[in-house]
């Protein structure tokens, strides 16, 4: 049985029904454990003091902000190529989660930047890129809400997502060109030991796992809601037809 069989809404609904509470529980446990571990059982950074602990919210939300857009891009491509309704609805469901993650990353970044850089906001390339990503999310969501016909909305937002992705990457490089920043380098990579000490690294990984599970749970929940809303829409249409 191929993965595509889950594109059938009925099968999707059946398969994901038990997944949502499980993922939700995993998310809650991971985030609580990770945050408690990070806040109370790790030492202060020798340069940044206790302010460094906002990393446990900042980094996972920033990661998910980008991953959510990437997921929307893949889902949009699947919709445009294979016309699976679940895919289009999953892209739609991911957008509000993504925009919230972007907002969390921006706000925690400002809170962190205030004591570190002495300013709430700096036109640093990374911050600016996230602000731009935030604008892209807003446009995408606004287009979904503006188009009445569900299939046309899915088509138009998918095209916007593809073009927007190209321009988002382009903006990232343009912004780098425009201002070399004061943001610290990537704090997470495969050679993480160099950047973040183990004591910070493990609780951070737990937090990231929690955010991934949270994202998956919210997107599945949103997709299930969208599928139900679509069924309702079709039923209403049929009722209107029966009346006519």
């Amino acid at each position: 049985m191929s993965l595509w069989s889950y594109a059938n809404p009925v099968r999707f609904m059946g398969a994901t029904r038990p997944l949502v509470p499980v993922l939700g529980a995993v998310a809650a446990v991971c985030i609580l454990v990770g945050l408690a571990w990070g806040f109370f059982f790790t030492p202060d950074d020798y340069r940044q003091g206790s302010t460094v602990k906002i990393i446990y919210l900042h980094v996972p939300s920033a990661l998910m902000a980008i991953n959510a857009w990437f997921m929307m891009l893949v889902a949009s491509l699947v919709w445009l190529i294979r016309r699976h309704h679940v895919s289009a609805l999953a892209a739609r469901a991911a957008a509000p989660v993504g925009v919230t993650m972007t907002l969390i990353a921006l706000v925690t970044g400002a809170v962190w930047g205030s004591p570190m850089w002495g300013t709430w906001w700096a036109w640093d390339p990374r911050l600016t890129s996230f602000l731009i990503l935030f604008l892209f999310y807003l446009g995408y969501i606004a287009l979904w809400q503006a188009v009445e016909d569900p299939d046309a909305a899915a088509d138009l937002t998918s095209v916007l997502c593809l073009v927007g992705s190209v321009f988002a990457v382009l903006s990232r490089y343009a912004v780098n060109f425009w201002n070399q920043g004061l943001h610290q380098g990537a704090s997470l990579s495969l050679d993480a030991e160099k950047n973040v000490a183990d004591v910070f690294y493990y609780p951070l990984l737990v937090c990231i796992a929690g955010f991934v599970a949270l994202f998956a749970a919210l997107v599945l929940l949103g997709t299930r809601t969208e599928i139900r809303a679509r069924r309702l829409h079709v039923l209403r249409l049929r009722e209107r037809m029966a009346d006519a």
Partner: protein
Amino acid sequence: MIRLVARDLALAVRAGGGFGLGLAFFLVVTVLVPFGVGPDTARLGAIAPGLLWIAALLACLLSLDRIFALDREDGALDLLATAPLPMEGIALAKAAAHWLTTGLPLSLAAAPLGVLLNLAWPGHLWLAASLLAGTPALSLIGTFGAALTVGLRRGGLLISLLVLPLYIPTLVFGADVARRGAEGLDPTTPLALLAAVTLGCLAGLPFAAAAALRVSLR
């Protein structure tokens, strides 16, 4: 395609076509700036390149929702869609007509308006050059945005929300060309990047706009 461009140009310059509105808007914004930031010529000169670019960008934005909306209202868009002209050709012709009626006059008017804002001398030429190289991208992106919103009743505001984030790379490179030109630095790097953005838009966006148009029309 050339016929469609020619018809749009004829429509724009005749009564009620709205030609010159964007240009007037550009002038008014430029005149308003000193009232907002003060008459200090040094400060005006420092912000002039970026400001003129933003004013030109907004003037471009002003006429975007007319690109397809007028043809949609009177049914001409349906007839164009059935004519032996590919949708990509329609999108490209519409972008070309939009550029000829807004981008080109704005580029030509920018250098004289630079005098009002005390733009340093060689900056005038670089400003005009950057607008000439960059405004086609603005028209192409705008045509894509207009194609996305053509079927909507209140597309005007939405189009700004969709298009403005897409304008960022063009604005960054374009304003940098003008700024470096005014400061006597070498502006060829951003100019090359700006040209690359425009050419990339020219190569790709007519297809995206055509795809959006097909969806909006059905």
